[in-house]
Structure formats: C-alpha cells, structure tokens
C-alpha cells in the first residue's frame, strides 16, 4: 500500500476537503483523503445527556484546551484572538454554529470598489452556481428575497425566529435597517435521509440529531459511496516534490505513530488557513527552502481572522430565548457595504444569536458580577435567564502581511511536527469598525426595547474560527500562492482549496464561501483534466 500511487490525495476531511472529494468522485479517479482526526460519534455529543451543559466543556473550540491526540497545539500568545478549530472528519464544522451567509459581490472587488487590498481573480458570478450546488448538497435553510444579496433561493424553509427574533426584527424596522432570517446550514425539513432540527440547542458542541450540516454527515457518506477512500488518524508531516517541482506525495504518521509515505499524482491541500501554511512551511526542500509553493514568500502571510464584537440585550419579559439553534436566528447587513463617512472601509455583519441556557446564564452572571451569589441570586437570575439576546459583530479583516502564521521554534505536536505560531495585531480600521458595530448593536437593542444592554470588550478572544488568506489566490505569481482555480503557481500538480486562498475575508462567516470555492476549484480541475499541469 505505501508504494501505491493514488490519482488524487486530499489532505484534510473538513468543509473544503469533503466538498472537493464529493465533486471529484464522479471522475472515477482513485481518490484518497487523509485526516489527522477520527470519525465523530454523534451518540457521544453532549445533548445526549441530561448534564449536557457541563459536558460542553469537552468540546472546547481551542485545540490548546482540548489537547486531544488529533489536535496540534497553536501558539497564539502573540495574538489578541485565539485560534479555534476542530480536528476530525468534518473538521471545524463539527463545532460551527452553521450560520451560513454568503459573501457579497463587492467582496470580490474591494480594490476596484474601495481602493483597498486586492480584487479576487474570480467573482460572485463565477461562484454563484457553486453556492447553489452547496446549498442543495448539504441542505441550507433560509428565506428567499434577502435584499442584501443577489437573488437566491435556499432549498429549505428558514429556522424559527421565535419571540426574540420578532422583537429584534421590530427594533431593526424602527431604525429602518436591513434584517433577514439567516441562511443556515441546519435542515428544517427531512433532507437526504437526515432528520430535521429539533431545537436541541447546543449546535456548537455537535448535533446529536444530525440536522446540522457538518461535513462528516452532509458530504462524506455520499463521497464514500462514490468511491473516495477516507483514511483517518493520518497526520501529514510534509508534501514531497521531485526535481521538476512536481508533488510526489506525502510523508505521514499513521495511527500507531509509524512514518509512512503515500505517493500521488495530484495533491489537494484542505487543512484550513492555519493548518495549510503550517504544512507548506514544514515541507522544505532544496527546491523550496522557504517552504513548499512559497516562492512568492506569501505562504502564511495575510492571515485574516474576523475580529469579533458582542452586545447583550436583556428584555423585561420571557422570550424563550434559550431554546433553538444557538448561533442562528437572523442577521442585519445594514453596515456591510463601504461608507467612508463612518470612519472605516468595508463593513460588518450583525448576527443575532439566542440566549444562554441555565448554567451558562448563572456562571456568566457570576463572572460578570451581574448574578452574584447570596440573597439576591434568585431575583437577578430571573432578570437575565430566558430574557437575554446576543448580537455578534463579524468585522471584515483586511489582509496585512505582518499578520501571519509561522512555525513555532519550540512547540510541537505529538508526532514532533512544529506547531504553528500566530503573529497578529488588530488594525485601526478593524478597531473603528468594531466600535461602530458595538454602537450599532446598542442602538438595535434600544430600538427593540431592551432594559439593559452590555457591550463586551473587543475583540473577543475566543472567536478565531475563521482562518483565511494565508495562501492567497491571484494571477500574479509574485503576489499570490495559487492561481484563479486554486493551483499552486510553483507546484503544478498541487491545489489548495480551503480558506487560505481567500484574497479578502468579507464580513461574514465564511464556510459557505469556502465550500463554494472548493466546489469551483474541483469543477475547474475536472474541466482541465486533459491539460491539468500545463
């Protein structure tokens, strides 16, 4: 087996790797995907247990907290935003909230429209069929007619708004602002053999019902039935190359820690915006002394993280706000597009999320000082529980080369592979955007009738889910790592399909766009099979 040559080797079984595997399966090529984690067992997710709130800590989003065998440490001491991920079949979609807004057309043309960063070499129009394909493949719920986007029609009905959603909608209406039920990767009707959402609540600790469209259940079963081989517990150390600058395969550690070599005709990297540059930077050779596919010097550079702000509003009546998919209700994109009179360029999404369950309400209140222990405990708990709503601000992060992923000099994973180190600072543009966003959140809650409003300090530390930009796409090999269809400029049989290729970050959660880009690259590979390496 180790000396076998597979046609396509995909590294990583998360959102993008799964989509690419599914798409390429129809070629009947021999496709193998290697994933450093294992399959999840939904029967072990917290919501199978009465003490589910306590068990959520087992699914901490920081790999440094979890320290599972499948995890690698991330040195994020030099960043105000911690790196979050999950390492398993399905990748970080195991824990994501499935809030699924698309990038806007303007996100692909920020240089042309606003004079900042760079335009993408592709457009919203290029990705539109792949957004729709992905929506259908995994089952996206929503409501047609959102005025903040070009027309599109989610295949499944939207998630329930609830009393809290109606209240916030009325507040946005009073301000004359945009709002809309979110596109969400949670099925609200039976879909492809999966049951609909039951409002279990803790989507971000794994969905026991299987209604959340994580890649392990929404893509992998179909990809495997179509012939893709998925090998778990395989951690790739480096991608190997020959004297012609062509990738020859990978060196990896199997589940027993034994070093193995897998040869491949084509290598596709899908390890996210931190894992991908880590792997490339660790794949040094005489031809690529600074890391594979890094003749531009941009591998690991331009890291974008979506700085996050949060506002909590408390109302004077029960809202059943702690029931339902926690991260998904509705959004407002009133301030998404650039208006320089606001003091910053580009914009942000406001994501309305649901309230906290009992233990989280109580402990959050204790640590904030709002629900202390002692004689007033019951009155104050009652004031906040079931009456609180959250507004998250997802700020577009513009690319800056000094924000980067490098290899750590000291920390290593359990196989001895250097850990990634993050060097990241918050830009002045992001600060102004977050200040504006927090004030907008306060206005929204005031208009909705909240009796108490609290702004969290920004940026939130445990919010580094969106890992983008570290192997950017472009037409110029001097200024980009991959071309307009994801192929490395330097290594012509290697493709990158994850959020690393993003030229800019948009101001929304990126998974639907990551998967649309991955499907677009897979489609490009299929259309160019006859002359793939030219």
């Amino acid at each position: 087996m180790p000396d076998d040559v597979v046609d396509v080797l995909i590294i990583g079984a998360g959102a993008s790797g799964a989509a690419v595997a599914w798409s390429l399966a129809e070629t009947k090529m021999r496709i193998v995907c290697m994933e450093q984690g294992d399959w999840m067992d939904p029967a072990q997710y917290p919501s199978n247990h009465a003490d589910w709130e306590v068990r959520r800590s087992d699914m901490h989003p920081s790999p440094n907290h979890r320290s599972r065998t499948a995890d690698y440490p991330v040195n994020d001491d030099n960043s105000p935003i911690a790196i979050l991920n999950y390492n398993a079949v399905g990748g970080s979609t195991i824990l994501y909230s499935a809030h699924f807004p698309r990038f806007h057309p303007s996100d692909f043309a920020v240089r042309s429209l606003d004079g900042v960063a760079d335009d993408w070499p592709i457009s919203y129009h290029d990705l539109e069929p792949f957004f729709a394909m992905n929506d259908h493949n995994i089952g996206v719920s929503g409501l047609a007619g959102d005025t903040a986007l070009p027309p599109h029609d989610p295949p499944l009905k939207h998630l329930p708004l609830g009393l809290m959603g109606e209240k916030m909608g009325k507040g946005f209406n009073q301000l004359g602002w945009h709002w809309w039920p979110s596109d969400t990767a949670i099925i609200t009707e039976p879909w492809n053999g999966r049951g609909e959402c039951l409002n279990l609540g803790p989507c971000n600790a794994g969905c026991a019902q299987g209604a959340k469209s994580s890649a392990d259940i929404a893509y992998w079963p179909d990809a495997q039935r179509a012939g893709v081989e998925l090998r778990t517990n395989c951690r790739i150390r480096e991608i190997t190359v020959d004297s012609n600058d062509m990738a020859t395969g990978v060196i990896y550690y199997d589940a027993d820690g034994n070093e193995q070599h897998q040869r491949a005709e084509v290598v596709i990297v899908a390890c996210n915006g931190v894992g991908t540059p880590r792997l490339l930077l660790n794949s040094k050779s005489s031809a690529f002394p600074d890391g594979l596919a890094n003749r531009s010097g941009l591998v690991g550079k331009n890291l974008m993280l979506h700085p996050w702000g949060a506002v909590e509003g408390t109302f004077d009546e029960p809202l059943a706000s702690h029931f339902g998919p926690q991260g998904s209700c509705l959004l407002s994109q009133e301030f998404y597009e650039t208006d320089e009179s606001r003091g910053f360029v580009r914009g942000y999404n406001m994501q309305i999320t649901r309230g906290n369950p009992p233990i989280s309400t109580a402990i959050g209140g204790l640590t904030s000082g709002r629900i202390p222990w002692g004689k007033d405990h019951h009155n104050l708990f009652e004031k906040y529980f079931d009456r609180s709503v959250y507004l998250g601000i997802c700020a577009e992060d513009l690319p800056e080369e000094h924000n980067e992923v490098v290899l750590d000099d000291e920390q290593k994973d359990s196989n001895g592979i250097p850990a990634p180190k993050i060097n990241y600072t918050l830009s002045e543009n992001s600060r102004r955007m977050l200040e504006h966003g927090l004030n907008s959140g306060v206005q929204a809650f005031e208009a909705a009738g909240a009796i108490e409003i609290n702004k969290a300090p920004y940026p939130l530390r445990y919010a580094g889910w969106h890992l983008l930009g570290t192997a950017r796409m472009g037409n110029d090999p001097e200024r980009s790592v991959v071309n307009e269809w994801g192929r490395s400029h330097d290594v012509k049989n290697m493709f990158i399909v994850d959020g690393s290729v993003f030229v800019t970050s948009g101001g929304v959660n990126p998974t639907t766009t990551i998967q649309a880009v991955a499907l677009y690259i897979a489609d490009s590979i299929k259309r160019n099979l006859a002359n793939l390496f030219d």
Partner: protein, 156 residues
C-alpha cells in the same frame, strides 16, 4: 447533615463538610416564595470531588480562612452573623469561594426541582428536542425591508 455527605475516602473531614453545606446554602439561599431549594440541598459533593479535584486545595484553604475569621465557630453562628462574616471577608478577597460557587451553580441548575421552576424538564435535549418552544415568526415584519429594495452593491 446533608444526604450528600456520604462519599467514602473523600478529602474533607466532618467539620469541613458541615461548613461546605452551610456555605452552599449561602451561595444560593432557599427561596420559599418561588418554592426553590437552597444550594445545600442539591447533590454537589460527589461531582465536586470527581470533576473539580484541582479546586479542592484552594477550597480547603478558604475554609480555614473563614474559620479563622470567626474563631473556629462559623457553622454555629446565627445565619445573619455568618452572612456578615462572609461579606467582610469578601471585601478583602472578592473572589473568595467563587470557584466553589461555580460548582454549586452548575449542580443547582441541573436539579430537577430547579429546572421544573424554569419550565424545563431534567432530561437530555436529544431525542425529544424542543420543537414546541419557538414561534416560526411573523414574516410580514419583513415588509419594510422588502419595500426598501436591494441594498447590495453590484461589482461587475
């Protein structure tokens, strides 16, 4: 003495167990109007030892501090004087007993009596779910948004 104090080989002596029980009742007092139990009447000790062993050393130190501040008679003081003693200590050390309080909160809000008061059942969310708890929502509220028309910026 509480029924909770039944653990064999547990790290607290009888006096410490009595103090923990009294303190749990101060952290979340009984509320007769709401028919809510006190923190001392929910099962907390087993899980404290099992799930939070790293907090026990600090907790034992805090118990000593409380005892010293009341000349070794904390549990025998009238409740109002216990409250006053804790209040005084927390002026000097605001985070006194906070880790223990986090544990009490965690146990308290899993107790079936407390959950029933909140309108919840003490059960796993899956498989029954909560499908009857959330309104679909009135979509006519979106009419002003629709009437305003598209706000996205063309780029091509």
């Amino acid at each position: 003495m509480s029924e909770n104090i039944t653990v064999n080989n547990q790290p607290f002596d009888e006096a410490e167990l009595s103090m923990l029980n009294v303190l749990a009742g101060h952290i979340i007092p009984e509320d007769s109007e709401r028919n809510l139990p006190s923190g001392s009447s929910v099962a907390f000790l087993d899980s404290l030892i099992e799930n939070a062993p790293h907090t026990l050393s600090q907790l034992k130190d805090e118990l000593i501090r409380i005892e010293q501040s009341t000349n070794g008679s904390f549990v025998n003081l009238p409740r109002s004087e216990q409250v006053q003693a804790l209040t005084n200590l927390r002026i000097e050390q605001p985070d006194l007993l906070n880790r223990f309080a986090i544990h009490i909160y965690s146990c308290y809000y899993q107790d079936p009596r407390v959950l029933a008061h909140l309108g919840m059942e003490a059960r796993a969310p899956f498989p029954k779910g909560y499908t009857d708890k959330i309104l679909r929502g009135d979509l006519s509220l979106l009419d002003p948004v629709r009437n305003r028309g598209p706000i996205w910026r063309p780029a091509e």
